[in-house]
């Protein structure tokens, strides 16, 4: 995420620049209090709105997860009953296994594809604008729409398989979407198609902002193009890998439309993902308490996954600050 990496930066910069401005005004004494109040407002209104939503809604959801709520939120306390119940359903167990497969596969495939596109586009190619737009357009269109198209393409009866079969290669099979143990990979394919453009944009942005002196020095050392990427450019932009991974991970965890448009959770319940389970329990089954429990479990998972990462960044920032 630009964010996490940026966090390291500001922390690194923090002690080095103690002169960062403070929210005090030294101008004409009469207007000072008014401006000070306005300043506080300008700082706190947008942040307050965000915090209210994030913290408030999270606390609310946690509360609901301990209540017997079904159709509507109700008060009452049922302890961990909702958690026990949802953890016993195969839906949640499958969703978690799938989240690992999908999360890893989606992040790896999308960043690999994005990096490939970025490196290719970085070769001063003609028509870069057009090509870039082609790789970015999947981001512009709702997955409710493109997911439907992908569900046609990946469908063996009407999609790519049928097309190839009709061209004469009758033995060709591409029917992962109907196989319970492979269908999750079709989500990765469609997801990578949508997200690769964004990864490409970030990588390309990184490649283009590498210090030209660094490149020149490497050239003088006689580095060839691939060596240049492997030894100089890619190591220099490694923080972008973290940014890309974090953004894609965030997409992976929240994935919902993709499943609904492509597989509806099937075949069977083999392509459930946690966000789908949350929606399913909360709204389709009218089990608000259980849906909230799944949402809380999702957030806890997130903390477990992201916390070590945050700690690492903090340590790195501290080390850099000391250096």
């Amino acid at each position: 995420m630009p964010t996490t990496e940026g966090a390291a930066r500001v922390r690194a910069a923090g002690p080095a620049e103690p002169a960062a401005p403070r929210a005090v005004n030294r101008r004409t004494p009469g207007r000072a209090p008014v401006i000070a109040v306005l300043t506080q407002l300008a700082i706190w209104v947008p942040l307050g709105l965000t915090a209210l939503q994030v913290v408030g809604f999270t606390i609310w959801t946690t509360w609901v997860s301990f209540t017997p709520s079904t159709l509507l939120p109700e008060s009452g306390f049922v302890g961990l009953r909702n958690y026990v119940r949802v953890m016993r359903t195969p839906n949640l167990q499958i969703a978690y296994v799938n989240l690992v497969i999908f999360g890893v596969g989606f992040v790896l495939l999308t960043s690999a594809l994005g990096l490939l596109l970025a490196v290719l586009l970085d070769q001063r190619v003609r028509g870069e604008n057009v090509l870039r737009t082609i790789f970015l357009y999947p981001l512009a269109v709702s997955f409710v729409v493109t997911g439907t198209v992908w569900s046609w393409l990946l469908n063996p009866g009407i999609g790519i398989q049928r097309l190839v079969n009709n061209f004469g290669w009758t033995g060709f099979r591409f029917d992962w979407i109907v196989q319970p143990d492979r269908a999750i990979y079709t989500l990765i394919i469609a997801g990578a198609w949508q997200g690769a453009g964004f990864a490409m944009a970030l990588f390309l942005a990184g490649l283009r902002s590498v210090d030209s002196d660094l490149v020149k020095a490497a050239q003088i050392d006689g580095a060839g193009p691939w060596r240049m990427y492997r030894r100089v450019l890619l190591p220099t932009i490694w923080p972008i890998f973290i940014t890309v991974a974090a953004i894609l991970l965030q997409f992976a965890i929240k994935t919902f439309d993709l499943v609904r448009a492509l597989t509806e959770g099937g075949p069977g319940i083999s392509t459930m993902l946690p966000a789908v389970v949350v929606y399913d329990f909360m709204f389709q089954r009218s089990e608000l308490g259980r849906g909230a429990a799944v949402a809380v479990l999702m957030l806890l998972t997130l903390v477990v996954v992201v916390a070590p990462f945050g700690i690492y960044l903090r340590l790195r920032a501290r080390r850099q600050a000391r250096a």
Binding site: T70, L71, L72, R85, R88, T89, P90, N91, S151, L154, N155, P156, G157, I158, Q161, D175, I177, V178, P180, L262, T263, E264, G265, G266, P267, G268, I269, S270, Y279, D280, F283, Q284, R285, S286, E287
Partner: protein
Amino acid sequence: MSHVTRRGVVAGSAALLAAPLSGRAFAAAAVTPRLTAISQWSAGSDGAAITALGRVFEQHGGIWQHNPVPGFTTEMMNKLRAEILAGNPPAVSQLKGPEIAAWSKIYPTINISPWVQAAGLEPHVPAELAASCKPGGHWIALPLQVYRINTLFMSVPGMKRAGVTTPPKTWAEFNTVAAKMKAAGMTPLANGGIRWDDGMKFEIALAGISPDAYRRAIMHLDTKALRGPEVLAAFAQLRKFSSWMDPDIAAQSWAVNVPAFMKGDMGMVLMGGWAQGNLLHAGAKPADFISLAAPQDSGPPCFDLNADCFIFWQQKAADLKAGQTLFAQIMMQPATQEMYSKITGSIPARTDVDLNQPGFLDGQRDSAQNLRAAIAGKRVLLSLAHNMAQPNGTTAAMIDVLTEFVHNPAIQPPDAQKRLVGAVEGA
């Protein structure tokens, strides 16, 4: 019964205008009736039908404010939930089965029993359907239309190709026909890949094996019946179905298979009565297929019922109250139900509507006849997959088991039966 015969859609609404309605007089005296309504019917023939209903309401001097929420039923319920939370539900909203009872607990509804009595509706509605509309003993919701779920469609070219002359009447005959079709290189079952489609196959199997076991196991969740031999046999039949289905359907609607069915590459469809609409819209002629009740192992065909209803929410504004009165009266009119079913392809919820008139098709007439016979023989069942038999939470948990079973041949019927019992207990 005879006063509504031989009238088309337009004539039907004209007849409605002519029919004496006390609400109209009431409206003229006090306020202009207004109706706020939520449904999921926005486009296609569903959208056309509800729009036509709105026109009738307007012709009676009412203001029609329909808010369709497109997408799945879930989105419609989200909207309803939001409006109830905000303290402002619509005057009426589309709701069905046990959800009527569940939702009526979270916001006050109105007692419409006097109107139902005045219209003489109750004797003409299947008791099972009426029960779902009056969870607390009095009517709070009204049925609009009914579909038969246990319907078998046979492709005429497919029958020729497989050398089948008569449609199967029992599951044993069905299995023979399907095997013949398979041997002829066809896909015997044209199915869809959405989860309720899998659930529906199971319920049609069980209803055909034993309506009584269905009633006890699915509608009453009787553990003994759920563990009984009929449910096990239904799973075995479902396993057979799964080997005859289109393996390539994924999450597509069954409508994708309509061309293959029309050509005779696929032989049969087990689907609700609306499949007729799919076929006709795709260009099939009535002679291209036959539709009848799905196989029944003993006795006359049962009727596995799916119905759409409107629930009436308590209102404060006088114009909305007047609108509810007027709407209820219009909805209960045989002419309205007739008009509605002609557009959607369903059958009227009122069993006293005569379908021997232009605008109805043989499939609808067969369904209506089947319903009347099933009421007399106490063989009316409520659909599981279409949320008529159980509340949504229980239904979803049960369908999880059914859809997994269909897509995973490694699961054996006895194991699936245990899972189904577990799902019911855990829901």
